[in-house]
């Protein structure tokens, strides 16, 4: 167990390190942020002064070395745009992102698992077909389109929900729905197919043969087996929801990490991009680790005694 944790810890560090390295060089390749920050009328000398000030005129490897040296100490530098501590800016956005992701995830699970279970149980019935149809359509709808549609309906036409911003729980409804939509489709499908898989297993027949009625059979015997693979998927999706909700965050003006990174990308605010990438890679790694641990916990076959 300890072995495993130590191994995963170092693996995680390696992964985060490599991600940072890759993004560092990618960002430098993306161009020079100077023009974006200085006034348009800045002269050549002024530009050079800025580059010098920001350390952009030094050889890449020196910049990289310094960046890594500082990053190890949790110092990603200051945002070029806001001059705030880059890491802090990202951390400040994290709660909003977490809130949204958690809400969306819970919503998705609450809808998807019963739907997937029923769908699998009533395989090939009308209900199943409708459910499967919805999931296929759900996976075909781009997030931003869904977002726009919801804004159009609930904010512009019906005027019952705010179109964006954060603050009250009401503000969260539309972005949560948007984010949950895709996940719900995925989870439903996955639950359904995991359930179908399980329902074909011999041990289900065994349970039936000992007179177990349908409801406990499904809820107790089959679902627990299906939940095990779902955990991995949920972990992956949580990662995606945390880091990949860029579009939803933009459409609904949600002050989260994704939007911050996108903005930083557009303005080539390197320190913020890197800090954001760092946090996301870290979260991913941690979530995956936790998923493995939970997986091992609920799956007695690999649990340590």
């Amino acid at each position: 167990m300890l072995d495993f944790i130590v191994k995963r810890f170092f693996q995680g560090i390696l992964v985060v390190f490599l991600v940072l390295t890759a993004v560092f060089f990618l960002m430098r390749l993306s161009g020079d942020p100077t023009t974006l920050f200085l006034p348009q009328d800045a002269s050549r000398e002024q530009i050079e002064a800025f580059q010098h000030q920001m350390g952009l005129d030094r050889p890449l490897y020196v910049q990289y070395g310094e960046f890594m040296g500082n990053a190890v100490q949790g110092d990603f530098g200051e945002s070029l745009r806001t001059q705030q501590d880059a890491l802090q800016s990202v951390l400040d956005r994290l709660p909003a992102t977490f809130q949204l992701a958690a809400a969306a995830l819970i919503l998705a699970l609450v809808i998807a698992i019963p739907l997937g279970v029923l769908s699998a149980y009533y395989r090939n019935s009308i209900f199943d077909r409708v459910a499967v149809g919805l999931t296929v359509i759900g996976q075909a709808i781009p997030t931003f389109w869904m977002g726009l549609l919801l804004i159009f309906l609930f904010a512009a036409q019906l005027k019952i929900l705010p179109s964006g911003g954060a603050g009250t729980p009401i503000h969260m409804i539309l972005p949560m729905l948007t984010l949950a939509f895709y996940s719900t489709a995925r989870f439903t499908r996955f639950t359904r197919s995991a359930m179908l898989d399980v329902l074909q297993q011999d041990f289900i027949r065994t349970a039936k043969a000992s007179g177990t009625p349908t409801f406990p059979l499904i809820m107790k015997y089959a679902l627990k087996n299906s939940l095990i693979p779902i955990i991995t998927l949920v972990a992956l999706d949580l990662g995606e929801l945390l880091g990949g909700a860029v579009i939803t965050e933009i459409v609904f003006s949600w002050p989260g990490v994704g939007r911050l990174i996108e903005q930083a990308l557009m303005t080539r605010d390197f320190p913020v991009v890197l800090a954001g990438v760092f946090i996301i890679a870290l979260i991913y790694t941690v979530i995956n680790f936790l998923a493995d641990v939970i997986y091992a916990y609920v799956n007695p076959q690999i649990r340590v005694k």
Binding site: R205, S210, P213, Y221
Partner: protein, 328 residues
């Protein structure tokens, strides 16, 4: 004859996969008397498992149906039962041991949890009583340290142990009939011997009936009182066990017995039945075995033979018809 615990009459079972209809069970009739161990032998795909599932009411929903025939259990017609009524029977009056001990237990529940299931469904017992009852059967099937085992998960047990757990589960509610579908095929020889002797011990006590499904004639010879030989969804021969081995009537049964290596001289060519078992959709008119039968006659290809019977020894072969005379 009177106390047959299970009687199957002219059972037909069909599966429908989309527009495809197959009938893997076409004519099956046999009975099991109280206290008897009846062996059902036949090669892969002959319909042994499907038959047993029909007796348990576990044929897959929607895609399977029983177009005709009856299954009488203790005088009760089972084919028309509702799911609720089935539940009272399953695990309680009829129980089943499956072929694959590795996959027949739920990997995420402890042995104890799984064993308590039939008790929960069919007996009103306190937790303590449940535990006591479980430990008792576990001891009965020869599982060491049952108090510990009930807290373990299936994957922590070996194949033999798991099969014992399956057997104990089948025994828990003292059913009138047990069905064992190839309970030892997946096991090693030495473990197989353990399990067979256990089953023997169990059936010899009280009068438990056992329907033992196998493809191994040796197991039949070892275990059974009565034998039913199936071939491609049809019962071709059925007889008392000694009678069957001494005087097999159907060429298929004869072939099976003759091809046992121990019935052949060492290093000589084994007796072999030519060809292979037809799939359910390949069945043509006439005797189903005709195309592989060394004694096949014209008639065999045209008309399927009825069940000829002689002192309870049944055989579905034209050779038994009076005008041809009984061979041997």
């Amino acid at each position: 004859m009177a106390e047959s615990i299970l009687e199957i009459k002219d059972l037909k079972i069909q599966f429908q996969n989309g527009k495809h209809i197959v009938q893997p069970i076409r004519e099956v009739s046999f009975q099991i008397k109280a206290g008897q161990t009846v062996g059902i032998v036949g090669e892969s795909g002959s319909g042994k498992s499907v038959t047993s599932l029909a007796v348990m009411g576990l044929l897959p929903d929607r895609i399977s149906s029983i177009p005709s025939g009856e299954i009488l259990f203790d005088g009760k017609e089972l084919t028309k039962l509702k799911e609720k009524e089935w539940r009272k029977i399953r695990g309680n009056e009829i129980s089943m041991i499956f072929q694959e001990p590795m996959t027949s237990l739920n990997p995420v529940f402890t042995i104890g949890q799984q064993l308590s299931e039939p008790l929960k469904r069919h007996r009103q017992l306190s937790n303590k009583e449940q535990k006591a009852a479980i430990i008792k059967v576990l001891k009965q099937v020869g599982i060491p340290r049952p108090e510990q085992i009930i807290h373990e998960y299936p994957h922590q047990l070996s194949g033999g142990m798991r099969q014992r757990v399956m057997i104990s589960m089948a025994l828990l509610c003292e059913p009138k009939l047990m069905i064992a579908d190839e309970p030892t095929t997946a096991l090693d020889v030495t473990i197989q011997a353990q399990i067979l002797s256990l089953l023997k011990k169990i059936t010899s006590k009280k009068d438990r009936s056992l329907m033992l499904i196998t493809h191994d004639l040796g197991v039949v010879a070892e275990m059974c009182d009565w034998v039913v030989v199936m071939y491609a969804g049809v019962i071709v021969e059925s007889a008392e066990v000694n009678e069957l081995f001494d005087r097999p009537l159907h060429p298929y049964t004869r072939g099976l017995i003759q091809s046992l290596p121990s019935n052949n001289e060492r290093k000589s060519k084994l007796y072999a039945i030519q060809g292979q078992v037809p799939k359910p959709e390949q069945v043509k008119q006439g005797c189903i075995f005709a195309n592989r039968c060394p004694l096949a006659m014209e008639k065999c290809f045209q008309e399927s033979p009825p069940a000829f019977q002689e002192d309870g020894h049944l055989s579905k072969c034209w050779l038994q018809s009076s005008d041809e005379g009984v061979v041997r």
